[in-house]
């Protein structure tokens, strides 16, 4: 089923009996969809495990050459990497199932702790990016649909392709060049200036989401500083998804604009601008909800690059640090953990989509 198909007229009211049946189907959909999370996680975790082991044990990979052969063998023995691969695999599956994603080699921290420390920063960045994507993508998509096949439409479509064609790290570097180095309006990197960062990390029950913490402290200067640091990373990452939203909105609004009910509204004398922003937009937004799941996966991948570019101390920044340190246990753990997060978000998004659009669950 293509979820991008254009939604038809809003569903009519259904008699009570039918509603009950529909609810059953919805419940069945949610249960089946929930059960599908497990094979998804299982497949991804297994794939990551076996791919990572093709290069041998992680200790030789990261410490080989730095330790003597005897030390190396002792550490491999201690970590259990000398046992048969299948034994290690089942042990790993058991660990993952109980929420243990391993301990990093380079700085000896549990991967789950890395997530707890830096996950909030990545979440904050992804939320900023989604906000940018909505603000930029949807209105521009409506404009493009309204002026379809005229030159502003062409300009907007090229803009959407450019959003896709520009790697986030290059977009980030360009934004830095213009707004930080050139104009000096915004900070170059980091999540807050050094003094404020210290202040925020000293709050007793910090959420880790700097904007929330700053709002709680209530100092306008602090809030301003946090927001100023968020603008460029948010825009760099958000534009990637903005392009997708723009195109989706355009295609679907063009589709709904040719529907009978829109024609009917037009013949009643509803203004063209209102037709686009009201009548055609709402059903056209459903496909956007369904792609958000995939977009979050894309944003997490993009966050690795964005955080590296802006030294944004999140999960992605840590991941690239571990990559540089060749710490393969940490990489495996973080990627496996992200697989779980992606599987869960996709489940939630699918359920929301099913609640909104009845056609999804049938």
């Amino acid at each position: 089923m293509t979820t991008t198909e254009i939604a038809g007229a809003p569903p009519r009211a259904t008699p009570p009996l039918k509603t009950r049946l529909a609810n059953n189907k919805l419940l069945r959909f949610i249960v089946v969809r929930f059960l599908l999370i497990f094979p998804t996680i299982f497949i991804l975790v297994s794939m990551v495990f076996f791919l990572m082991r093709t290069i041998g044990d992680p200790i030789t990979a990261s410490q080989g050459g730095r330790l003597s052969a005897a030390d190396l063998a002792a550490r491999i023995e201690a970590a259990g990497y000398n046992r048969p691969l299948l034994v290690q695999y089942f042990e790993y599956l058991g660990q993952v199932f109980s929420g243990n994603f391993g301990t990093t080699i380079s700085d000896n921290r549990p991967v789950v702790e890395v997530l707890a420390t830096y996950g909030a920063a990545t979440l904050e960045l992804v939320i900023y990016a989604l906000i940018v994507a909505f603000i930029v993508g949807i209105p521009l998509g409506m404009v493009a649909a309204a002026v379809r096949d005229k030159w502003p439409d062409a300009v907007l479509r090229i803009f959407a392709i450019l959003c896709y064609a520009t790697p986030v790290f290059f977009a980030g570097l360009l934004l830095k060049l213009v707004f930080s180095v050139g104009l000096g309006w915004l900070p170059v990197a980091g999540r807050a200036s050094a003094r404020n960062e210290l202040r925020l990390s000293n709050i007793s029950d910090a959420t880790g989401i700097y904007l929330l913490d700053a709002l709680r402290l209530g100092s306008p200067a602090l809030i301003g500083d946090v927001l100023a640091h968020a603008v460029l990373p948010g825009v760099a990452l958000g534009l990637l998804t903005a392009g997708v939203f723009l195109r989706l909105t355009r295609t679907n609004v063009i589709g709904t604009l040719s529907m009978d009910y829109v024609d009917a509204a037009r013949s009643r004398g509803v203004r063209e601008s209102r037709l686009v922003t009201r009548h055609a937009l709402k059903p056209a937004l459903i496909p956007i909800i369904t792609v958000i799941g995939l977009q979050i996966a894309l944003l997490l991948g993009g966050a690795v690059l964005t955080e590296t570019t802006f030294e944004w101390q999140g999960l992605g920044f840590q991941l690239s640090r571990y990559i540089a340190a060749r710490d393969f246990v940490a990489i495996q753990g973080i990627v496996a953990l992200l697989a779980v997060i992606v599987a869960l978000t996709n489940f939630i998004v699918d359920v929301v989509a099913a609640l909104i659009d009845p056609r999804v669950r049938f």
């Binding site: 089923m1 293509t2 979820t3 991008t4 959909f29 089946v32 969809r33 599908l36 094979p39 998804t40 497949i43 991804l44 794939m47 990551v48 791919l51 093709t54 990979a61 096949d149 439409d153 062409a154 392709i161 450019l162 896709y164 064609a165 520009t166 790697p167 790290f169 290059f170 570097l173 360009l174 830095k176 060049l177 930080s180 180095v181 170059v188 990197a189 997708v244 195109r247 989706l248 295609t251 496909p287 369904t290 799941g293 995939l294 996966a297 997490l300 991948g301 690795v304 570019t309 690239s320 990559i323 540089a324 393969f328 990489i331 495996q332 990627v335 992200l338 992606v342 599987a343 996709n346």
Partner: protein
């Protein structure tokens, strides 16, 4: 003589891209032409890189001594030099070769494996089909860059020579692409399997392999050109992303834009713009060109999106390719995962 010429021209018109070029009008034609020109320039640059580049990609000195690091663009180095003392222009030009090679290897590999799996999955059906679809969906929903990182580690331990690096990048991209081909080809195969000519082939007694590769394959691959253009552009982006994170090809083995950008990150802070802007612009241009071609082909194949010629200005032409889910950026939507059940 004359008829021969005419026959040749007709055949030329029947070629995929030429056909669409003739079919298109107005803005759509402009976008297609711009895309074709950029892609053409890119391919020519890659082929003639040794002639076009003023210096080698790993060259840091000539007869007058070393180039010097972070030189501003000047007469000798038109686009300046990098922090490592390489000539930026030369590395941008040589980078086209790396990008093109990775694209070709990645697309050939993923088409081969993806089409094979898609045909088998769709034709055989049953539990094999369900398992393959669930795996493909799981892989598809995962951030492709992260998967590519893992694949790059598995293939080369993260750092490599020229061909090692090209293969590592291409294979990691392949892992990400296979599910897309699998899904599209599988969907087509399931549709074609019910066609009368497949039935009759079965009745005649053709083997499963023969039916799959002769009858189904020929008809299921019409949609490939569209996905192909999208995947080549994604290959460039993934290669750059890997390079940016330090999984690229060593600078002495080949020129790679993502690597150059990662080295330029600190330059930007001190206002040195030429080391970042040019390799980045090269990535954007190549992806833009290829995407414009793919987009235009997809639009022309979709009657809802195709701009028609004004009435009376020549006969209406229909495209040979069909538009497919996954064939356009607009269709980047995961299967619900329940697909195998219906």
């Amino acid at each position: 003589m004359n008829t021969q010429k005419k026959g040749l021209r007709d055949r030329l018109r029947g070629l995929p891209v030429v056909h669409q070029l003739r079919q298109s009008v107005g803005l759509q034609r402009a976008m297609l032409v711009v895309g074709l020109v950029i892609t053409g320039v890119f391919i020519l640059t890659a082929i003639f890189a040794p002639l076009l580049a003023p210096y080698g990609y790993a060259q840091i000195r000539d007869d007058n001594g070393t180039f010097g690091a972070q030189q501003e663009p000047n007469a000798k180095h038109l686009l300046g030099t990098t922090v490592g003392g390489f000539d930026v222009l030369s590395r941008v030009i040589w980078g086209t070769q790396t990008a093109l090679l990775v694209m070709i290897v990645a697309v050939v590999l993923s088409i081969f494996l993806g089409v094979l799996l898609g045909l088998v999955s769709g034709y055989v059906g049953g539990w094999l089909d369900r398992v393959l679809v669930v795996i493909a969906d799981a892989v598809y929903a995962f951030p492709s860059l992260l998967l590519a990182i893992i694949a790059a580690i598995a293939i080369s331990g993260g750092q490599s020579s020229f061909w090692g690096g090209i293969l590592a990048a291409a294979l990691s991209i392949t892992v990400v692409f296979i599910p897309q081909y699998l899904r599209v080809i599988r969907a087509e195969t399931v549709r074609i399997k019910a066609e009368a000519y497949v039935e009759s082939a079965k009745v005649v007694g053709a083997s499963s392999a023969r039916i799959m590769f002769r009858h189904v394959f020929r008809n299921a691959t019409r949609s490939l050109p569209l996905i192909l253009t999208l995947n080549t552009s994604e290959a460039v982006l993934t290669l750059a992303g890997l390079g940016f994170l330090g999984f690229g090809i060593e600078p002495t083995s080949a020129a790679e834009w993502g690597y150059d950008l990662s080295k330029a990150t600190s330059d930007v802070t001190s206002g040195i713009w030429w080391t970042a802007v040019f390799p980045g612009a090269a990535i954007v241009l190549v992806v833009l060109g290829i995407t414009l071609v793919g987009e235009s082909l997809n639009d022309l194949a979709d009657p809802r999106l195709r701009t028609r010629r004004k009435a009376g200005s020549g006969p209406a032409l229909t495209a040979e390719t069909t538009s497919v889910a996954g064939g356009s950026l607009d269709d980047l939507v995961p299967l619900s995962g329940l697909e195998g059940k219906s």
